[in-house]
């Protein structure tokens, strides 16, 4: 008879199985530790191999680096660090690749709660200043940093009196237009030369669009940052004399009006700015790549991607920023590696940054990630990017644009709450593009939004 067993009779089977489970669980957790003690990234077998169990000097330090990538930045960092770890066998850097969202939204909360990684690749350069470790005391040669990164070091600083060195620019970006050259050729329209105004470009691209039956002459990424470049060319200052935000001035207003008009008269497709809500970022790459747009206002970071994706479909080229009354400015931007105060290994972290900042390492990083360096010496020498000729030319055009950037653009980039300004710009102008707000009301709301937010941030 095979009648079901009583619970008593079940015990031996159960017990054996239970022991088995425990054994498996232990086995797994052991595995866990093993994996945990290895550099996470499997792309770098060298790093794993170079982790000796005994450290010649001092105790082993494990550094956690939170990294987001627009492309291969994190991988390249990890691979470059293999060289560092060979030299410093007692320091291990684990690169945790996270979505940008984690850096943007979660990292500030983690830092405020006293948690978070040792280092991170961030874009809120000024905003997170209070959590940064000043690297200056730990650096071998602060003067090297001052000399080569002088312009961008300010972006990380708390104020005018702050002399600290906080981070390493891993990517310098410049905004600017990219143009579908083939369309110009097909239309037989000459491309406006350097120094041409926005209106010249609008007229030219309109002509091209009409001739080639392309739906839209221009488009711009949905980003307050991109817009700032245009506004500054129109004369926007963004700040008053005391350095407080005073975003909506004549320059800003003129640009905003022009911008809305461009959407109304079909110069720009409404769906990029109008099709989303809030501060969401959208780019116009899909449209540009399908040759639905003659000119896309974007930035240097898209070049590598364009090179890969457009391929042979048409010729494209980066052109100098069109001009407004105040100048022909783009706006810089970028991401940087920073170390946080709460790290247990400040010295080691500084060593890591020092290594990555070395000219040959930095140059390799820039070449492999196809980014513009913020390093003066490297910029001067130029880099041999592994890109097509068109891409290289375009990248050089963008690098050339750095010199044309007007001072307010630098101030804005260094302002701790710049993203609050960008967000307000995008969400309100976006509403205006979608027809929900008049330009005047949008401008009023931008002012109110920024003032309120900044007031809140300063409330103690």
């Amino acid at each position: 008879m095979t009648h079901p067993r009583t619970s008593v009779a079940r015990t031996p089977v159960g017990l054996i199985a239970f022991l088995f489970i425990i054994a498996t669980a232990l086995g797994c957790s052991k595995n866990d530790e093993k994996t945990a003690s290895q550099p996470s990234n499997s792309t770098s077998p060298a790093a794993a191999a170079s982790t000796p169990s005994s450290s010649p000097s001092g105790s082993a330090a494990e550094l956690r680096m939170q990294c987001y990538g627009d492309g291969n930045e994190c991988e390249v960092t990890r691979e470059l660090l293999a060289g560092f770890e060979k030299k410093h066998p007692n320091i291990r850097v684990v690169v945790d690749v996270v979505p940008y969202k984690a850096i943007l939204e979660n990292l500030p909360i983690q830092l405020a709660a006293g948690e978070g990684p040792d280092m991170a690749r961030v874009t809120d350069l000024g905003g997170l200043n209070k959590y940064y470790l000043d690297l200056r005391p730990h650096l071998k040669d602060p003067a090297y940093w001052e000399k080569n990164f002088g312009k961008t070091l300010d972006w990380y600083r708390a104020g005018r009196d702050d002399r600290g060195i906080y981070g390493l620019m891993t990517q310098l970006t410049v905004t600017g237009p990219i143009v579908n050259k083939t369309l110009f050729d097909q239309a037989g329209v000459a491309m406006p030369a350097r120094g041409a105004t926005w209106d010249d470009w609008v007229a030219a691209t309109h002509k091209v669009a009409k001739a080639t039956e392309v739906p839209f002459p221009m488009a711009m990424d949905r980003s307050g940052h991109r817009f700032a470049g245009l506004a500054i060319s129109m004369g926007a200052k963004y700040f008053d004399a005391d350095g407080n935000p005073a975003v909506v001035d004549d320059g800003f207003r003129n640009m905003a009006k022009k911008f809305i008009d461009w959407h109304k008269d079909g110069t720009m497709p409404k769906e990029i700015w109008g099709g989303s809500g809030g501060g969401q970022y959208r780019d116009g790459m899909k449209e540009f790549q399908n040759a639905h747009i003659v000119m896309l206002i974007t930035g240097s970071w898209q070049i590598e991607r364009l090179d890969k994706n457009v391929g042979d479909a048409f010729d494209w080229v980066a052109v100098p920023n069109p001009c407004g009354p105040a100048g022909c400015s783009g706006i810089p931007g970028g991401a940087g590696l920073v170390v946080f105060k709460h790290t247990k290994h400040p010295k080691e972290a500084a060593l890591v940054l020092d290594y990555l900042a070395r000219e040959e390492v930095h140059a390799e990083y820039m070449v492999r990630t196809a980014n513009i360096p913020a390093h003066a010496a490297i910029t001067e020498k130029g880099l041999d990017y592994k890109l097509s000729l068109a891409a290289k030319t375009s990248l050089n055009t963008f690098m050339g644009e750095v010199s044309g950037i007007l001072p307010p653009a630098y101030v804005l980039q260094g302002y701790p709450y710049n993203r609050a300004i960008y967000n307000a710009t995008v969400s309100r102008l976006g509403q205006s593009v979608a027809g929900e707000l008049s330009v005047d009301n949008a401008l009023k709301r931008i002012t109110a939004d920024i003032n309120e937010a900044v007031k809140e941030a300063q409330r103690k």
Binding site: A17, A112, S276
Partner: protein, 341 residues
């Protein structure tokens, strides 16, 4: 030689069942003695608290405590994270939310987007819930017929429920973009491209469509269960009474389906008010703010900003909770006799 291949799944299966049996056995016997003791001490009915304890502890810690902290956030200002560091400002956040020159025109409000979000949410909930119930019902009715491959069709309609909201929105966004699949299809048939996500009405439509698409399967199954529970002879009786199909549906199917309908309605309502992920990825709340709903407003204010205004967001979330509570209570009151044993 076949043996090796035949035996390993068996072995795996044996290990798995053995493990499960062991867990079940231990779960039965380890807590039993203390529970028996507690039963003696507490008596027959109060032992219920012991069953509730694990859930209540976790619940209090990870749900209730955060909600309390959130309440406190609502009466404080600043951008500090720890409640103790936040300056107390009383009802200032609420005043800010409710500061309007004219309550019938959200553009005169201090927090215009908040009111816009409330308006959008109300519109969305009232339309989406109705459509959700309607389509779930239609689908359930169709699937309740004697059809070939019912199991397959049931799975088909349920499948989107398995997808994460983000994936759902991502896929549909690709379909609906100007250069998306849908426009490609329209163009290939000789039509004109439609800017699905730029026109506020279309955008609103698609938000509703996509949420219904993604969640309908679940409610369909609940209704299907209800339909299958209706005894056959009731329909036969109706047939004898020469009731028209429509009358049969209205006078027999619908009333007998009511308990299921109420569950569907309640769940769909709560879910609709809390809609966030799908819309955030699909339209980002746009065009402009045409599909910005309350949860997204709260998320944008408290989380997605460089200057994270937890206080204002918390105050708005309180308003949301009150709205939901009133809705649910009203619904419970309307159907008190029907659910809840």
């Amino acid at each position: 030689m076949n043996d090796k291949f035949a035996s390993w799944p068996h072995r795996v299966l044996a290990v798995v069942t053995g493990a499960l049996r062991a867990i079940t056995h231990l779960m039965l016997n380890i807590p039993e003695r203390p529970m028996r003791w507690a039963q003696r001490v507490l008596g027959g009915q109060r032992i219920a608290w012991l069953f509730l304890t694990p859930n209540l502890i976790i619940f209090s810690l990870f749900t209730f405590l955060p909600i309390l902290i959130n309440f406190y956030y609502a009466v404080t200002g600043g951008v500090q994270l720890w409640p103790s560091e936040r300056p107390f400002i009383g009802t200032e956040n609420f005043q800010k939310l409710f500061a309007c020159d004219n309550y019938f025109d959200y553009s005169t409000c201090d927090q215009d987007l908040f009111w816009r979000a409330i308006y959008n949410s109300m519109k969305f909930v009232s339309i989406q819930v109705v459509l959700m119930v309607l389509f779930s019902l239609i689908t359930a009715l169709v699937l309740n017929r004697k059809i070939v491959g019912r199991g397959f069709f049931r799975s088909v309609y349920f499948f989107p429920v398995l997808l994460s909201p983000v994936v759902v929105a991502l896929v549909w966004r690709w379909i609906l973009l100007r250069d998306g699949v849908l426009n490609a299809i329209i163009e290939s048939m000789g039509g004109e491209k439609v800017l699905w996500l730029l026109d506020p009405s279309w955008s609103f439509f698609w938000v509703i469509f996509v949420t219904v698409w993604a969640q309908m399967g679940f409610y369909t199954l609940i209704l299907l269960a209800g339909l299958q529970a209706i005894p056959r002879d009731v329909y036969e009786a109706a047939q004898m009474d020469r009731a028209s199909p429509w009358r049969t549906f209205r006078k027999i199917t619908l009333p007998l389906l009511m308990p299921n309908m109420i569950v569907v309605l309640a769940l769909a309502l709560i879910r609709a008010v809390q809609t966030f992920d799908e819309v955030f990825v699909l339209t980002g709340g746009g065009p402009g703010s045409a599909t910005t709903f309350l949860v997204q407003y709260i998320y944008n204010t408290g989380f997605a900003q460089q200057i994270q205004r937890f206080g204002l967001a918390a105050a708005a979330s309180l308003v949301l909770a009150v709205v939901l509570f009133i809705l649910t209570m009203a619904q419970l009151r309307a159907s008190r006799s029907k659910i809840d044993g």
